[in-house]
Symmetry: C2
Subunit: 205 residues, 2 copies
């Protein structure tokens, strides 16, 4: 996923750059990508229309920049929360919790990330493919260290991303009951991931 | 979720109705909801522009009709595939497989369902809330019958919907390797759901 963006260096330029990003994030969430124009963005950011193009060649390049930034924000947030955890179990638990708390603070992340499906399907594919790739690397290590079972780690990565995303949706959109207690919800999820769902006397293979 | 649609009764009217739905499904997938006009739909369906309004009061009501129809199609497909299964384990396995095979045949289902997030957030909420409600009913039964553990079944329903959706995405968008063998992928998923992910000597609670 490539984007041609002129990263600013002076303090003024940095402020303008961030004002553009903030306005765009807000407008894409409220009105959607297709209905938002560059003029809407510069007007909300309080800058001259032409200034936009000092930083971004197009609305699409701005969107791509936002998408990459969000993916970095998610990774950084999770990484910082699991840095001091030693077991894979704790890493997964804190990772899911970090993701949910992040999208709670920034609920429009779902909108903007999933909207890539309607802007350029390849962006959506790249987003999850690259997330899965990093996930698989961590899972493979845990298999080698004997912490998790030797299942197909690529399939496992999509299972875990699916769980995290849908539990996040439940909390952010307040679907169903008791969504305030994120710790409790994550405990249920981890119990299921640890011990399985079914009552069975068969030993773990 | 309500929609005011005049369901047709004569053979001609039924054909026209379905031609409109088919054209809309195709155009919403290709160009998105917002970029598709009623004129685009009638023109692709090969009918006079005014005819549209004999069936649907608006583009939005047509979209809602499609969304409800898809949700019924998914439920009917899953129900038919699990009708003769007796254990919850088999029902879950066949249910996931039925969903994946359905979205493989109709990959634009994701687009159209998730696009509700950008058309009217309440539609998206309703869609998953009502799906979860039915899921919970089935899971609660299985808890009572001693087939699955007494976890919070609402949380469990989002976990299972998340897994199914993201595994479906992996297959439909061909993310990663070996996506042709749906049976094998579902076996990995069910192994994980049955026995858990982590290697632990702790007994199942």
């Amino acid at each position: 996923m490539q984007t041609i963006v002129k990263e600013p260096t002076t303090r003024n330029a940095i402020n303008t750059f961030h004002a553009i990003l903030e306005a765009a994030e807000d407008l894409f969430y409220k009105n959607g990508y297709h209905k938002t124009t560059v003029n809407n963005i510069t007007s909300q950011a309080g800058i001259a229309a032409g200034t936009f193009y000092l930083y971004f060649p197009s609305k699409l390049s701005l969107y791509k920049h936002l998408l990459i930034q969000m993916s970095h924000d998610i990774r950084r947030e999770i990484a910082s929360k699991i840095a001091d955890k030693t077991t894979r179990f704790e890493k997964e638990r804190e990772g899911i919790k970090a993701f949910i708390n992040l999208v709670r603070r920034r609920p429009h992340m779902y909108n903007i990330i999933w909207e890539s499906l309607y802007i350029d399907r390849e962006l959506f594919r790249d987003y999850y493919a690259s997330f899965a790739k990093r996930y698989v690397r961590g899972l493979d290590q845990s298999v080698q260290q004997g912490e998790i079972r030797a299942l197909d780690t690529e399939v496992v990565s999509y299972v875990l991303m699916g769980i995290t995303n849908f539990i996040g949706l439940k909390v952010v959109l307040n679907l169903g009951d008791k969504n305030d207690d994120v710790d409790r919800i994550v405990d249920v999820v981890m119990d299921l991931i640890r011990h399985g769902l079914f009552i069975t006397d068969a030993p773990k293979p």
